[in-house]
Amino acid sequence: MYDLYAEEILDHYKFPRNKGPMDNPDRVYHDRNPFCGDEVTFMLKVRDGVVEDVKWEGRGCTISMASASMLSEEVKGQPLEALRNWGKEKVLELLGIPLSPTRLKCALLPLKVLQVAAWGTREEGEVTSND
């Protein structure tokens, strides 16, 4: 049995990194998973194509919130170009646990929101699809 509630995941859930408001963000995107009500907003400050600062807000389950927190740490200082290639492997690597299809949707919501914030609208379902 894998540990869905590994210490690191719970730590990010209880003490989320970069969570809170941002004044005058350059990019903002908000979305929710209608199935479970989870919601995430990412706010970015971008200079010369590089993510200078990141904040996020949201509510949801441990997996979605930990995923948002971990991604926010990861994205700071990254060129926007790099985000383009992040997929579900990136999120799974950050979380460090395998996920069932249902929980994978929770984990991928913050990635979808982050990428749309960075790059504008993506094709529907491209990020959240499981397969």
């Binding site: 049995m1 869905l4 509630y5 719970l10 209880k14 199935f35 479970c36 009500g37 989870d38 509510r59 949801g60 389950c61 441990t62 997996i63 929980r103 929770c106």
Partner: protein, 414 residues
Amino acid sequence: MKLAESVSLDPYRLREDFPIFSQKMHGKPLVYLDNTASAQKPRTVIEAMDTMYREVYANVHRGIYELSERATQMYEDARRKVAHFIHARSRREIVFVRNTTEAINLVAYTWGLANLRPGDEVLITEMEHHSNIVPWQLICQRTGATLRWVPITEDGHLNMEALDSLLGEHTRIFAFTAMSNVLGTINPVAELVRRAHAVGALALVDGAQSVPHLPTDVQAWDADFVAFSSHKMLGPTGIGVLYAKRHLLEGMPPFMGGGEMIREVTMTHATWNEVPYKFEAGTPAFVEAVGLGAAVDYLSGLGMDRVHELEQALVDYAYERLHTVEGLRIIGPGPKERGGVLSFTLDDVHPHDVAAILDQEGIAVRAGHHCAQPIHDRYDLVATTRASFYIYNTREDVDRLTAALHRVAHLFRG
């Protein structure tokens, strides 16, 4: 199976009738507490279907040969059993459909489209499952009728004063659940039907939760329509029931067209078969119907009064035990006024997290909005965790649930 009147049911003995409980889940005995979503199957149901496939399989109402006639006989026996189980006047008042959802859609699309006009009102309640909301929204859009909602009180009962002001000369049908799939609230069905009839409206009862768990008497209710599903009452999936008073069925146009539902077909028109066959186009799920018949036999053998009594005792116990978990809040009425359904929140821990941790302990519960978003909006909740009981659940199941919830609370607080 027939027990002496005075003897209570013993869930430990009943569990042995259900093959699924012989397995382990994550190395632990399965604690199945998602009965509101669907119930497990006793051996008699599985075997009745297995036997039919092996020994008596042929299409019904068609063949002039022994096998088909025997299959038809079994299908119609199942209809008789269901009629008897809910105290219908006649088996002709029993239409086999796929499930509760289809039963309600059948009424909405046949009776509704034929009878609703702009200015008419359809009344439902805030505690309905989506299956008793969305069909009416669709039909109101099509017909120009108005959909109105009976509010509920903070403790999870229908607001009866509001009901009286909402029911009026424009109300054509009042569609409500006999038992909420989220709150567990048991509604006073006969009284609600009486009030609907007093203003000349019809009454549709969503019996998806009540029929599997409480005695049902459609004549005592005087209900016009009652919808329920087999799979929540120990029977197979793919089969459900629409009960309707015969004169209403006679007056309604068909739902789907095809074989079996016709009397005569020419190249320009068709005439309809007698009820209930007018509403059973195409080859029906007759093996599933026979499975449902076996489930009805099983439940009748136990006695629905005793089923209710067993669940009542378990809800009392669970209500008390769950409240030992700090931060746990059960929504809906007190234990004496509800069926075996407990939906709760645990501090601000997301129900998906609660359910995932319980799963690791071999405990199956439901997390989400349980196909009833309006009731969650009513309590300003996105989602809840729901534990729901049936005849095979024990106090030990409740103890394991409680212990696991203590662990969840500890994990997120610590």
